[in-house]
Symmetry: C2
Subunit: 276 residues, 2 copies
Amino acid sequence: MEVWFTEDQTKNLRISIRVKEVLFSGESLFQKVLVMDTFEFGRLLALDNVIQTNIKDEFVYHEMITHVGLNTHPNPKKVLIIGGGDGGAVREIVKHKGVEQVVHVEIDQMVIDVAKKYFPELSIGFKDPRVEILVADGIKHVKDHKNTYDMIIVDSTDPIGPAVGLFSKEFYRDVFESLTEDGLFVAQTETPFFFENVIKEVIASVSEIFPIMRLFQAVVPTYPGGYWAFTMGSKKHDPLSVDMDKLPVMDTKWYSPEIHKSAFVLQPFVQALLKG
Amino acid sequence: MEVWFTEDQTKNLRISIRVKEVLFSGESLFQKVLVMDTFEFGRLLALDNVIQTNIKDEFVYHEMITHVGLNTHPNPKKVLIIGGGDGGAVREIVKHKGVEQVVHVEIDQMVIDVAKKYFPELSIGFKDPRVEILVADGIKHVKDHKNTYDMIIVDSTDPIGPAVGLFSKEFYRDVFESLTEDGLFVAQTETPFFFENVIKEVIASVSEIFPIMRLFQAVVPTYPGGYWAFTMGSKKHDPLSVDMDKLPVMDTKWYSPEIHKSAFVLQPFVQALLKG
């Protein structure tokens, strides 16, 4: 007998992954939470039936949503992360010794709980004494904390359900206000292969609010199209002006100083999106 | 009623695509040939139930398997392409005005026939007077043509069935012999996410035979893992030493002079593969 998990990546495209064992299945206040052990990707977390992370390819997403921004800012001390309750991004943030405080705002306690139990490789960063976990609404948190963070990371689900507000222009304005005078933020912003309208809206909003807007990319096999885009809004520091020779050597599998640069090299069809 | 096409990308991973209409289904001497119109990707070609190309994302693969090599060689006049009977690579090769002759060796007449009928956007290059199509065995062709080609492109299916020999060390030796004194070749060589052993073997073989071996990458959403690797073996010219200012401006959607460089920037986990 074979058990398969299937996600509708779009209305007309599905990915199916063979399951060894369902480890947890529950419903929180916000979403359905499913943890499986799979043959191809090891343990895998799905929220509302959408793959969020897995042991095999999680390094790509978590390294790229953190280090690109943290290495663009010359001295990020106070970092906010919204979402990403699995802990993978926090694990990467605490690799930066100069970071003094990590505020982790996750709306769903159940995601944090399953991460601690089933994804110790990801949630290990929660144990770092610099990390404070708040089960709260990230949208409200940024509204309530003006001029506070050097970097904000928006590690959200797709722009449906609880994460819709995290893709709105009003939210990006609040992020701007919540950043210090030379702060910057990075958000996951879907794929230009299937969700080009999401990206177009995000870059239009971010470009209006921030002096510097940059799109960068990585490959996440379990996300639709593989090709994933991240958007950075920055008040002062440009990721393309970083002095590569000064970047710290880190224990990473996808990110490197050279990848920091090449991730911003956009293909003509993506450049066309940026031009609207 | 909904009709879905499903490919087993690995034993434990499947992709499913919703089908508008099956346009052609046949069995050639070598493989099953299936052409469908799909909702997400438009017309799509599968051989032995493995997706080869489709209208939506074909530009990535065809631009990268051709232009990177053609722009590395300063003056490629005679080009051989093995496989790629859909015509997409030929369409890109003939964009290079300096190319005087394109020999296209495809083993399966049926693939050429369905390309002409169902994929006119890809097979349009077949009409170029510089193109000669041979329905023949590419392995034998390179054995029989020593010191002939400036560039050889191996646009094969996966290393199972008719394409097994196109991943062998003996074949790469024959490719070396078939190239002129400063010739180079490019082959599609699967993905480091799932088929790392294929890549390891290929780079070991190519490194042994060619003075210059380089791996480069692109994102093809309908291929397993999205992240796709190409391998170049070159007798003299290094793709990393190309003068970007001298590259011709071309009508492309994925390839550009900047992408030419960034495609060779490998992530630490892929660099580790290269080191064996």
